[in-house]
Symmetry: C2
Subunit: 797 residues, 2 copies
């Protein structure tokens, strides 16, 4: 029983909004890093609201043809993301391997004459590379520091952090990680590649970078945040697929670690993107095999192929493997805690002093890393080469300038090698390959491994949080495989007769540390298998991961969650908190509700927007009988757009004529789309004359007429599930309803697809007969006289 | 402003309900197969409602200790499911391999003397095995027929089909599939193993089978449907992991194909279960290697290891591979359509004539299969053995009684083999191994492969839907690898110089057919890699799957969806239908709402329950001012429990005293738990005296006080997403609210964990400072005088 003008207002709103099925879902909030005026750099969150009229509106205008175009572009973008990320990965890999390879080749050739000169050259090259990286980050793309995974995770959870997905971030990430990884720091390029993939996806989603005039109007069809989020998910998967050459691992990483709302349709597209990446990377590597790529070229598609290693295992080995799991959990949790403390300290005491400090810090870290990695092997006595096995392809010492085990470094005799230099004075990929390598029993001494473990762990902790792009996968694998190999050495000594490879234990160690630090399970497991090509170790990897994750979970949260929390990214966990069980929806509403009438004075809007930070306002109208009625939700961003454009201002305080056609459409839907790469408008940016302030706006056409609602005394756990699983931003808490108009059950939602029913006649038979049954039942109801007393059959109000 | 007694009623209800955060989510509807009185067997759906007070209630009673116990049991059950499913798989495999191996050994030894006698023995053994299978199914466990995957999918989507998860179904499935697979029918044991895993999980979930007195009260703690569903999901994953010895594939299968509501916490447990299965199966197989298992013992953990095959591929091969994808899509879609027609025809014309017909049908199919698989190879001329390669371990002809390529069957000379018999007159595992085998170029003639393809495809279609346990994975792999190898032969002939293995194409063919029929992507891909141990083919498998799924999707839905639809299982798809965009919530309500007052006469309840099939009823109360107010949802099943027990009947038509403690608790929560293995009570089963009918019941303590609500004019797409993603059964459609009490945003739901905040002091700093910021903002709001005009701050009503 709505009054007429009210009904009209709602209808007007529905003209726009009823065609936006998912506009509310998964839209993003905007977490700006607000620097408080008192100078403290503790981050504060500022929320903005995004609404998207655009996509469905346009779709309706253009009809079926647009739908086809939309689907085609969606898949074309998945293809482009795959190609782009694949090429970026190849470029980064090529550059890093060439820089690092050239660096080591030069150093090795110089140390034949003078170790001091070699040391100076080595330190300087590293310094220059790191300096270039930190300069790019501090002066050009500050958002590209770190791994970027917590930020992407936040984005996909619904929190938009400014600057994370810009074109400059992409560029900074690519070139910055070449510098930092090539410069020999204790960090990896895998996390940054995930961020790179996400940036590429996001840029495609907005149709290119508008700032750098690389955009195309034809590709700007992804205006809902949901579509953009889907693309970014594809980008993440592509990043992992490219980093580890592990396409299935990429899909699972995107699924398990980064996304919050997953749909199975999306899986299909993510899978496609990963497949494309695999093909691109493989093709590029095939091209490199012909020697076109300099120092890059020795590796196959599998990064650390250990398929020639241990094939079987006995029960006695399960205990040492479980011990590896426990160590991984402990060291991983410790790593998370230490990095958290250091990041916290760094943010509060170091980085707020400006870019200069950041640059000096990174250079210092580089210097220390160079000194340790060059100096420590010098202190180590060389070992004689093992008796060479004619079948084995391993040479000892390895030929100068080549990759391989048994590095001859500061050794007095020809047939000797330095085991510490083999892992320390080497590229990371090669060091890991050496640690994983089978058929090299007793290559490393326990002392060297322990030294390396302690030093590298410390370096990894210290390096974490410097202002360079930095991934934690490779350091994690390095640390884990070191203690894994250490355990393996003891096992080999203990169970003498078994065919045990130390390399297997190194692999398990790597899995355990990553599990203990990042707390991933399925995806990590698949990634480990895909990078080592030994499926037979799968059950062992699973076992180790289970233990290390369980042990780690006893101490703290995963690395990315901890970092996200530190960065003030409010991730909604998948599980509601325990204490929510005793709370109701009303208990959670901590803000006073500020609502608007349907037609509102411009001056009122301005003062309300200035006086609070709310991002959504209920709009309330009155029926002619004086009853109030909530007609929808007005997002702040829409109000700002309306205030800025001024075209909808009117002199009359009465609702505008709602009849379709009588009102010119003054706004194109795309005006309400949030620009992905900027912060959007602020109320301070809008200047209105005093005449303008006296005008009115009818909000009805611009509001969301049916936001999700919950009754005030609903359990907060239920509310939480609703909010998180649908990816909402706003939820109205309303009084208990006075009556129930209808009841929707599963069968009410099983609507036959009318278009398909002709072709698949057979299949729908059962559905149709169900319909018949139901209508019979309904007649049955009506015949019962008693029912009429109790029935509340409001078929129309 | 609720009146007192109303508030009390709601409070009473909340005593029970507010502690059930997920009771509404994911509870099940019950689809009974109702045979209509007119004799037509078209299925009709009958819904029942399940509500679960039990778990949270009990948990609160017993407190923290119970919570620990609950978590321990949850993981213990995951362990048990893993062990149970692993052992079941080993048992089935052992039996099948032994029956089949013994059958072939016997037949081969007889045909040395007489082919006629051998034929008769072969046919008879097959017939006996199939007969035993179909007898078990028809007389003991009718729900065990078919693969069971559509039913499990339905169960996990929220539709409970009677009999699918009983103990007898489990037994029938295990022994039935031994008979049907051992009997040489064109079906596999993989689908049934998924069902087996699900049954084991479900039985554990209800603490054992009550009917067979195998239950334990200590294990009966899983009373919510959500817990049971989680266990069944674990069971599915375990089934796949055991069937294919593919643990990661199992996790992904459960995720991609069967579940509808996935939570990442669950992934962790599913993963654990799969790992256990892998360990169990591997251990059992290690034990078999010592020759303890008869004919079973030759296989390794990898079913069809092709890691020795093709390692690399060139660009020229992508075209024939794409062609394989297209063929797979076409043949897969055709398979789905044909099986759909045949199942439909069978159900309507054959199976309703009774068990006799089903038995005769299965025997006939067995007879035809035997005749074809024995007879066709007889017609085929033998080929001479290829020049033996001294390096190769392949013998030609294979030694009698052993597995291997090159079967000598009806050949005149010693050094000859029959290529059709090699795939047709063999166990399925062995036939596939032969088709996948590398280094056996020109083993099969195109003619033989084509003959086999046509005959086996027909057999698979005809066999589908007979009353025996039947999986479609193995037939799919057989069909696919046949045409794959066929294409491979042409490719080998065409690109002569490339190192192409026909076996690789057979593998791709298998992937393409499964993709075209079942429409899985990631899980299938991982399964294919895990069963063949060749990671390098991963990108190719992905490519082929993408093409075949896309081609198949152009024609019809996946096999399981089609079958579920035919069986009348109303699966809610993940995507809302297109036409829902133009509908509102009210449009979907096709039933008249029948509601109860708070205190209702027993006679009224009975007549309402008799006169309709609704499963949920709104309960409406009146305030003292005469306003009506919806106080909750009363499920039919609770009403039935109340009617049956009678202890809550009262003489007064006034609400009972709601003060806690004043009312004895007459019901244990477990009374409201739905028995998993029966249909529950029906209104016809309850007999009440005329005195009883005059009594009253106060419904307040038993209703769900806050079901999810949607406003009447919300877009149906939004409603659909809400309904499906939260796994609801009932949704109240209510009028637009008259006011907004509060607005919940992301930050309102970021509640600090008070227990943790002491230990992780550092981490919460940023959160706390945000709180401070917010409270400052709030004070800012209050200072603005203009706001007070527009603010609607109902902090309490």
């Amino acid at each position: 029983m709505l009054s007429n003008h009210l009904q009209n207002g709602i209808e007007t709103a529905k003209m726009v909004w009823s065609r936006i099925p998912n506009a509310e879902e998964g839209d993003h909030e905007h977490a700006g890093l607000l620097r408080k005026s008192d100078g403290s750099s503790v981050e504060s969150l500022e929320y903005e609201v995004v609404e998207n009229h655009a996509y469905w509106e346009e779709q309706d205008q253009r009809g079926k043809l647009f739908l086809v175009y939309y689907v085609v572009v969606k898949w074309f973008f998945a293809l482009l993301i795959g190609i782009g990320t694949g090429l970026a990965a190849v470029f980064i890999n090529l550059s890093v391997e060439n820089f690092a390879g050239w660096k080591f080749a030069l150093t090795f050739s110089i140390i034949q004459k003078s170790y001091v000169a070699g040391f100076i050259v080595y330190v300087l090259i590293n310094l220059v590379l790191v300096l270039s990286s930190v300069y790019i980050i501090t002066h050009f793309a500050p958002a590209a520091a770190g791994s970027g995974i917590p930020e992407i995770k936040g984005y996909l959870n619904g929190v938009d952090i400014h600057g994370v997905l810009l074109f400059r971030t992409l560029i900074g990430k690519i070139f910055g990680s070449i510098g930092s990884v090539g410069g020999g720091l204790a960090l990896g390029k895998e996390g940054p590649l995930v961020h790179t993939g996400a940036c590429i996806a996001s840029l495609l989603g907005q149709g290119g970078s508008t700032k750098y005039h690389l955009s195309s109007r034809w590709l700007q069809i992804f205006k809902s945040d949901r579509d953009r989020r889907d693309l970014v998910t594809c980008g993440c998967a592509a990043g992992v697929a490219a980093a580890f050459r592990a396409p299935v691992g990429g899909v699972l990483f995107a699924l398990e670690e980064v996304t919050s709302w997953w749909r199975s349709q999306l899986m299909w597209r993510v899978f496609f993107t990963s497949a494309i990446v695999a093909v691109v990377v493989r093709t590029a590597m095939g091209w490199c095999k012909n020697g076109n790529c300099g120092h890059f070229g020795s590796g196959g598609f599998i990064i650390w192929d250990i398929s020639g290693g241990q094939e079987d295992y006995s029960f006695e080995e399960l205990l040492p493997m479980a011990i590896i799991g426990v160590i991984g959990g402990l060291l991983g949790a410790l790593f998370n805690q230490l990095t958290l403390y250091i990041s916290y300290w760094r943010r509060n005491h170091l980085h707020k002093k400006g870019n200069q400090v950041k640059i000096i810090e990174a250079c210092l870290v580089s210097l220390i890393t160079s000194i340790i990695s060059f100096g420590l092997p010098l202190l180590r006595k060389c070992s004689p080469c093992p008796d060479s096995d004619p079948d084995s392809s391993l040479e000892c010492p390895r030929p100068p300038g080549m990759y391989g085990n048994y590095v001859n470094f500061y050794c007095s005799k020809e047939k000797e090698y330095n085991d510490l230099a083999t892992i320390f004075f080497n590229t990371q990929d090669d060091a890991i390959r050496n640690l994983f390598s089978a058929k090299t029993i007793h290559e490393f001494s326990a002392q060297s491994l322990l030294t390396f473990l302690v030093m590298f762990y410390t370096l990894a902790v210290v390096t974490f949080g410097t202002a360079v792009p930095a991934g934690q996968f490779i350091p994690g694998i390095m640390i884990g495989s070191t203690y894994g190999r250490l355990v393996g050495m003891f096992v080999v000594n203990f169970y003498k007769k078994l065919s045990i490879e130390e390399g297997t234990y190194a692999l398990l160690g790597a899995a355990s540390f990553l599990g203990g630090s990042m707390r991933m399970t399925v995806s990590l497991c698949v990634i480990m298998v895909e990078i080592t090509n030994n499926l037979k170790l799968l059950p062992l990897i699973m076992l180790v991961l289970l233990i290390s994750k369980a042990v780690g979970d006893a101490f703290n949260e995963g690395l990315y969650e901890e970092q996200a929390r530190l960065k003030g990214i409010p991730l909604l966990e998948s599980k509601p908190k325990y204490q929510m069980r005793k709370m109701t929806a009303k208990d959670a509403c901590r803000q006073r509700v500020v609502s608007f009438p349907r037609v509102v004075k411009v001056a009122d809007i301005v003062s309300i927007l200035q006086s609070n930070k709310h991002n959504g306002f209920p709009v309330i109208d009155h029926t002619r009988t004086g009853e109030t009625l909530v007609i929808g939700l007005m997002p702040r961003s829409h109000l700002l757009v309306l205030l800025q454009s001024k075209v909808d201002f009117q002199h009359s305080p009465l609702p505008s004529d709602p009849r379709p056609g009588s009102r010119p459409i003054r706004h194109t839907p795309s005006e309400f789309v949030k620009p992905a790469s900027s912060k959007g408008i602020s109320i301070e940016d809008i200047h209105l004359s005093s005449d303008d302030l006296e005008m009115y706006i009818d909000l009805a056409p611009f509001l969301n007429p049916s936001p999700y609602i919950v009754p005030e005394d609903m359990s907060l756990t239920k509310v939480y599930n609703l909010f998180r699983q649908l990816g909402l931003r706003h939820l109205f808490v309303v009084p208990r309803p006075s009556r129930v108009i209808g009841l929707i059950t599963r069968k009410d939602l099983l609507i036959e697809d009318s278009e398909e029913s002709d072709t698949v006649e057979l299949q729908s038979t059962s559905v149709r007969s169900r319909h018949r049954d139901r209508s019979m039942l309904r007649n049955g109801d009506a015949e019962s006289p008693l029912l009429n007393v109790l029935v509340q059959g409001h078929t129309s109000s």
